[in-house]
Amino acid sequence: MALVLHLSQLTPPAPRPHHRRIARAVMDDAAQRQAGQVFALHNDDLLLLFQCDDGGSPLAATLAQLFQMDVPDSAQLFTLWSLEDDGAALLRYAQARVLDVPPEPPFAEPKGSAQAINELESVVGQNRITDLTQRQTAVLLAPGRDARLQPLFREISFSVAVLETRIAATGQAHADPFLFRHLASRLDARMLDALRQDLQANGPLTAGARGVGPKLHLNLTLSGILSDPFARFAAACRAIAAQVAIEISLVEACADPEAFTAARTRLRFAGLSLVLDGVSHHALMLTVPAVLEPDLIKLDWSPQLPEAGAAVAQAVAALGESRVVLHRAETEDALRWGLAHGIRRFQGRWVDTMLAAQRIGACGPGRCSMRQCAERASATGPAGRAGCRNPALLDAASPLAARSMAMA
């Protein structure tokens, strides 16, 4: 018998190193027990030739179980060949693989080092905050023939890519999720101080908080919310009844429920809204987010969402569609899935592009590409906006406002 495991069919960033390592271990194990041999093919697939009396079903069942979340349809995951009946077809498949371009040396996921994170922390102290932050606007898509994008809020966050560029450490910040959460908590203090000063000086970063433009959203860690810089920021917000929402990751909330409850109380007391961030559809099935009493929940879009079945749709309905923002909405498929499930709130690159298209419509064609316009709109510092002839439009967020500004 031959079994080909089609790791090449996994959706990037899979196959990740652990997929290859464990699949290889499972197939090596089968090879050892059943007088076989495993071959790694040029396209990342693994081929096992083995003696088999059971039709290969136990091994096939194990592989199907292992990859059930990555490849729900096991027919796409592996192919079983009988050497007697399918020998010629297997040979053709193997010959085709020989013609494949040999793979790059196995890509090792960058291992986040504590030293690199330490350097990233110091970068934050040495740079102007607006050069390190980015922003993204979320919209409400009003239904109807004249579908309009109505800005809901604008999230300000540190640009991890920019931070990494400063110390030439691409991939380090996200390489280790635990170190990344630590880095995020250290960035919070700097961000909170900067925003408080901006708020008190009527600066452009916090225009939304003062009611000029969409509401300001800020992603913070629990330790950031329970820190002194937050107390000072919250006092500044309370003083002007600022329009601010704080986003907390679902994982952090579940990791320390006591600290989460304290943080939520602090937000309520300061008059700030609570948004639950980082909710994947898998995590939605394993938790009860409504218990955390958020004002909004940001559900991460994934191309696997449409295959997730009725359970996700039921969970969204139970939360209330008006409380759900479809986050990381990068494609039109995301929008279509969201609308089909009653979701009207969206944030992501698809929204950025739509807003850019409308700004270009107001600004006049031929000057910039949509990508340039979207990138400049996400920048908070002058360097990122260089080249824009109409920076007021970048801040306008609302295409309608943009249009009227252009006409004025």
Binding site: A114, H182, H282
Partner: protein
């Protein structure tokens, strides 16, 4: 080692001697007495709260409650020793005072589950210059005899520096060379069945506190939860290497290991798996944390299926009365769910104890009431001193 349950209860906060807040308050008392100026002072005795409620975020909440009062004329906040706080202001400001007291009741009530009467008992009002001596005595100059009994009983540890990323990098380098054998510990998990107590398995772990004392003296390695979690990944690989050594598991009985999800899929685990004696296959339990499961559910599912295929059993640890309502346990397809005992569990409805086909384990069952509660719920697996004494 993904565990974050401390080996010991949290030490109470250290009392900085000669704090600037106390000096300023002394100056104010002196000035009021000399010049006959009137001031009102609210003293908040956060030090009267139990240690578990005096973590920095609790103190932050208490400070928030005082915010309204800081709008009063000439208001000033004084940080005092032992976590005490004082606000001084000119005039009576009854509305602002009332607002702060109500906020304090609300914050303490919702977050710390402290009743209004206790909340108010933390607060005293003083009028200067009349009550100056009494205020200073209450603010920080009292002898320890006046402190509540639980505080006198626990020695105050010297302050530790929090572990930062640079110190972690150094500790990781040291860990690669350190001999782990001396830090290895075993803790029993008991099964109580028809009145009979027997050892279900041993929990194999490393003593975090001894490791910290040896490799990072003067550092609080749990001060940053995420750096600590990162550290546990390094400890996982060292623990797995230790157990993979020849003869290490020669006579071992069933045991459990506290691991990160990523560690189950690492090369060290594969080496451990190869070294595992066949008589232990199916008798090893892998313990995981909820945050680790939720951080990447797809990788968790992959690791679970791999572990099950190799005969390991999976346990979700660190579930508490507070986190229980947040989690939907049946779809996690676990073998065991370990619930940490606290009196708050007695208020949890039995219907909330839904774990699918998983069996419950009650940890920190140190006293009879914990054991009784667990038995009432039909639990038969326990960790803690209550059964260890009987066994």
């Amino acid at each position: 080692m993904s565990g974050n349950e401390p080996d010991h209860p949290e030490a109470p906060m250290a009392a900085p001697a000669g704090s600037p807040g106390l000096a300023a308050l002394q100056g104010l008392v002196r000035d009021c007495a000399t010049a006959g100026v009137e001031r009102r002072v609210l003293l908040l005795r956060a030090d009267l709260l139990p240690p578990r409620l005096t973590r920095p975020h609790h103190l932050g909440l208490i400070r928030d409650a005082l915010d309204p009062l800081l709008s009063a004329e000439r208001a000033r906040l004084h940080d005092l020793p032992k976590g005490r706080l004082a606000v001084s202001w000119r005039g009576l400001a009854p509305a602002l005072l009332q607002q702060s007291l109500e906020a304090l009741e609300h914050l303490l009530g919702t977050s710390l589950r402290i009743g209004p009467a206790t909340a108010r008992s933390l607060v005293r009002l003083f009028d200067l210059p009349r009550d100056g001596t009494e205020l200073l005595a209450a603010a920080g100059l009292e002898s320890d005899d006046a402190a509540p009994p639980w505080r006198r009983a626990i020695p105050v540890a010297p302050p530790l520096m929090p572990l930062d990323a640079a110190a972690l990098a150094m500790m990781e380098r040291q860990l690669r060379r350190a001999d782990m054998t001396r830090f290895a510990r075993r803790k029993p998990v008991h099964r109580l069945d028809s009145g009979q107590v027997r050892l279900a398995w041993e929990r194999r772990c490393l003593s975090i506190s001894e490791l910290a004392d040896t490799l990072a003296p003067g550092r609080d390695i749990r001060a940053d939860a995420w750096l600590f979690r990162r550290l546990t990944r390094v400890l996982d690989s060292r623990m797995l290497a230790l157990l993979s050594a020849p003869f290490e598991l020669h006579r071992a009985g069933p045991f459990s290991l506290d691991l990160n999800v990523g560690s189950i899929l690492g090369p060290e685990f594969l080496r451990f798996d190869s070294a595992l004696p066949s008589r232990l296959r199916g008798r090893v339990v892998l313990e995981l944390q909820p945050a680790d499961v939720l951080a990447d559910p797809a990788t968790f599912a992959f690791a679970r299926e791999f572990a099950h295929a190799r005969g390991y059993r999976l346990l979700l640890r660190g579930v508490t009365a507070a986190s229980l309502p947040m989690l939907c346990l049946p779809p996690m397809e676990l073998d065991y769910v370990q619930l940490r005992w606290s009196p708050e569990l007695m208020r949890v409805a039995p219907a909330a104890l839904q774990a699918g086909t998983a069996e419950w384990v009650l940890s920190r069952a140190d006293e009879d009431n914990a054991l009784q509660w667990g038995r009432d719920q039909g639990f038969s697996l326990f960790r803690g001193r209550a059964l260890a004494v009987t066994a």
